[in-house]
């Protein structure tokens, strides 16, 4: 599937850019900020960023709930929670002195989908849907369901937060999709299928509307039978007719969540790493958010290599290492010089990538989080990341 290229957001001509600073503390201290969405391609540290941000906000007096998608076990443990499930659990002892609090939860997409069904249908009808093989497959493994259910859960949390006042800030991590954009597109795609013209046509025979069986529909169901088999088609028809009560509901729900994302009080943080792929995804995302009029707070670049002090160039360091090559007592220094040269080259490459991004997306506020030599294991580790996010 080729991606439709969108117009560049940035200026048509510019000097290599330096991005304006993203002030994370101002964002989370602003009581009008109610939802922060962390998005970006897979493997860039989205979940860690979301958790660190939530912790920092809680310790600055916000009452926070962090919604994570598939976090590493160690990260859940780092928040003092052995296992996260579909319900927000308090992280003990966070932010009490400041009047804040931190809850965390992990999305269980099947459970969330089941809850939607249970809340919309009579118990009997709900059971019928929950047992349908087609439903089971769609709710547990269909690509796009996770994105849809993340949005659904966000909507639920927001409603609950407004009603109970338990939280005043929701931090959302987004699913590790093929593309960062799936997160925006999948809900609409899923909704339009479940709600769409074709599904309605499919529904017609099950409702006894055989007279509507036009030649076109016959051709379609015929082809579908060939492709996926008659049994699946029957399961689908049963599913669709059982789901009938919920129909319309899906599209409307997706639409509401989309509006929630566009609302004031929502802020998007695009997360990336200083790698071409991750920054390309970030660029697509920034452009898309701008098109959709979604509030972009800024870009977080994780795992940035920090520039070594002084002005010793890579070439000079390597030449120095060469000169020490024959001296055993100089081996350590030669090694350090080689590391220095590597670091210089890595920093140069990352700087070039970041400048390129900054030039073509000049309005995007950015914070660079330096790479740590160790992994994050506990709240202190998350605090360190939080401090770095705030640019301290």
């Amino acid at each position: 599937m080729a991606r439709v290229t969108s117009p560049r957001v940035g200026p048509l001509a510019a000097r290599p850019g330096v991005a304006a600073n993203l002030d994370v503390d101002a964002l989370i201290d602003d009581r009008d900020t109610r939802i922060v969405v962390c998005c970006g391609s897979g493997g860039v540290g989205k979940t860690t960023t979301a958790a660190a941000l939530g912790l920092r906000a809680a310790e600055r007096g916000r009452r926070v709930v962090v919604l994570t998608i598939d976090p590493a076990r160690r990260l859940a443990q780092s928040m003092g929670i052995e296992a996260l499930d579909n319900t927000p659990r308090p992280v003990p002892g966070v932010g009490e002195a400041e009047g804040g609090s931190l809850d965390a939860m992990m999305l269980d997409m099947k459970r969330t989908f089941d809850e939607v069904v249970e809340s919309q249908a009579s118990p009997e009808k709900a059971q019928q849907i929950l047992n349908n093989p087609f439903y089971i497959a769609v709710s547990s493994s269909f690509a796009g369901t996770q994105e849809y259910m993340a949005m659904e859960k966000l909507g639920q949390l927001d409603k609950l937060a407004r009603k109970s006042g338990a939280w005043d800030l929701i931090v959302v991590d987004t699913p590790p999709s093929r593309s960062a954009l799936d997160f925006l597109d999948a809900p609409e795609r899923l909704a339009s299928f479940l709600d769409g013209r074709f599904m309605r046509l499919l529904l017609a025979p099950a409702k006894g509307g055989a007279r509507f069986m036009t030649a076109g529909l016959g051709l379609m169901t015929g082809a579908l039978t060939k492709i996926i088999g008659a049994q699946v088609l029957r399961d689908m028809q049963t599913f669709v007719s059982a789901f009938d009560t919920l129909f319309g509901g899906f599209r409307a729900r997706a639409q509401r969540t989309f509006e929630l994302l566009q609302a004031e009080g929502t802020a998007f943080l695009v997360v990336a790493a200083p790698e071409p792929d991750a920054l390309r995804e970030a660029a697509y995302f920034v452009e898309r958010l701008t098109q959709e009029r979604m509030p972009l707070a800024g870009l977080v670049i994780n795992r940035v290599s920090t520039s070594p002090a002084g002005d010793l160039s890579a070439a000079a360091a390597l030449a120095g290492a060469e000169r020490l090559a024959d001296s055993p007592s100089g081996a350590l220094t030669a090694g350090l010089l080689r590391l220095h040269a590597d670091r210089r080259r890595i920093v140069e490459r990352e700087t070039r990538l970041r400048e390129r991004f900054a030039t073509s997306h000049s309005g995007v506020r950015t914070v660079a989080v330096p790479a740590l030599s160790t992994d994050v294991h506990d709240l202190d580790g998350l605090r360190t990341i939080g401090t770095l996010l705030a640019g301290d």
């Binding site: 080729a2 492709i227 996926i228």
Partner: protein, 341 residues
């Protein structure tokens, strides 16, 4: 890059010689597309005709090889290095095109197929019907891998490299017929799924997992290996990517970790090397050394975890300048030296 294979890893020699289908998976950010491309080049350098496929619609191959976006059509993109080298062709597979091709081939539904498209049926069948999308994608790869000299007019490949979905999804992607079993009990999609399953479980396939030496990716790799084995899918090599240069030896790292290197000593050596040193420079060098030594401790812990997985393991270096075409050939040479091709 000789001597990259740490002694801890299990030794293996050329066990992928007869592999026709190389499936490359890995957690996001580990560089699986880069590794898949390098593996295709490495195989081509042994004289094989290679097809490199991608299925995620990211146009990653085009970006790596710096060519225009790939259509649903096999394109020549590179030549392996060496005198008797073969060629690398590339194909970006999308489910919609695969389904239309499939309908045209088996049901002569050429025009009707496009009419179906208008009703959204193609979209529907490839997007919502569970597993169908994956079967169509793997089915096309299967078709390319099974081609032989009897297929007149079609190009014949000695090896197919698939840049597959990430580790978290790979077993579901490859084992899709399990998913379908409960749904499509009969029908062409079911039989296609069965043929794919047969190829995947035959000796001609290997699923390679790309990781980096960090906790989360290694954990995900371990989980992936377990899931693949449980699904009776053939696990190939673990490819440890982005490995930092082992510039410092154990004794030097220990000195740095314990902070027992006198700055004056480094300053003296710098002067010998013809570099005018400042205290700031010395501190920065020592800090960098300590950072690398700390990182290395963690890397070695993860290396030990990878070694327990009991799969052949190879390592690829982090290229400080990033990946360009020359870098791909360099990684390909590393893979070849470590008997991956």
């Amino acid at each position: 890059m000789g001597g990259l294979i740490p002694a801890a890893y299990s030794d293996f020699v050329g066990s992928f010689d007869s592999t026709r289908l190389h499936v490359v998976t890995g957690k996001g950010g580990t560089g699986k597309s880069t590794v898949a491309a390098a593996l295709a080049l490495a195989l081509a350098s042994t004289g094989k005709q290679v097809l490199l496929c991608e299925v995620e619609g990211r146009q990653g191959i085009a970006q790596l090889f710096d060519v225009p976006p790939l259509p649903y059509q096999e394109r020549h993109i590179a030549h392996g290095s060496g005198p008797d080298a073969g060629d690398v062709y590339a194909l970006a597979i999308d489910a919609e095109s695969a389904l239309l091709e499939y309908l045209a081939m088996y049901y002569h539904l050429g025009r009707a197929g496009r009419a179906l498209d208008r009703f959204g049926v193609i979209d529907f069948a490839t997007t919502i019907a569970p597993g169908v999308r994956d079967v169509l994608l793997t089915g096309k790869v299967y078709e390319a891998a099974k081609r032989n000299s009897r297929n007149k007019g079609a190009r014949h490949y000695d090896a197919v490299v698939l840049d597959a979905p990430p580790t978290g999804r790979i077993t579901q992607f490859l084992g899709v017929n399990e998913e379908l079993a409960g749904l499509a009990k009969v029908g062409p999609i079911k039989s296609q799924a069965d043929s794919v399953a047969n190829l995947l479980r035959s000796g001609g396939t290997a699923v390679h997992l790309v990781t980096v030496l960090e906790e989360m990716p290694v954990q995900e790799t371990a989980d992936g290996v377990e899931e693949l084995r449980a699904a009776q899918l053939p696990v190939g090599a673990i490819i440890v990517n982005l490995v930092r240069a082992k510039t410092l030896d154990a004794a030097q790292r220990e000195l740095l970790l314990t902070g027992s290197v006198p700055p004056a000593k480094i300053a003296k050596q710098l002067t010998k090397a013809g570099i005018e040193s400042t205290p700031e420079m010395v501190n920065s060098l020592l800090a960098e050394g300590r950072f690398q030594a700390e990182r290395r401790v963690l890397e070695d812990e993860q290396r030990a975890v990878v070694a327990t997985l009991g799969q052949p393991t190879v390592e690829l270096p982090l290229l400080p300048g990033g990946i360009d075409l020359a870098g791909l050939y360099e990684l390909a040479a590393d893979l070849r030296e470590q008997a991956m091709a």
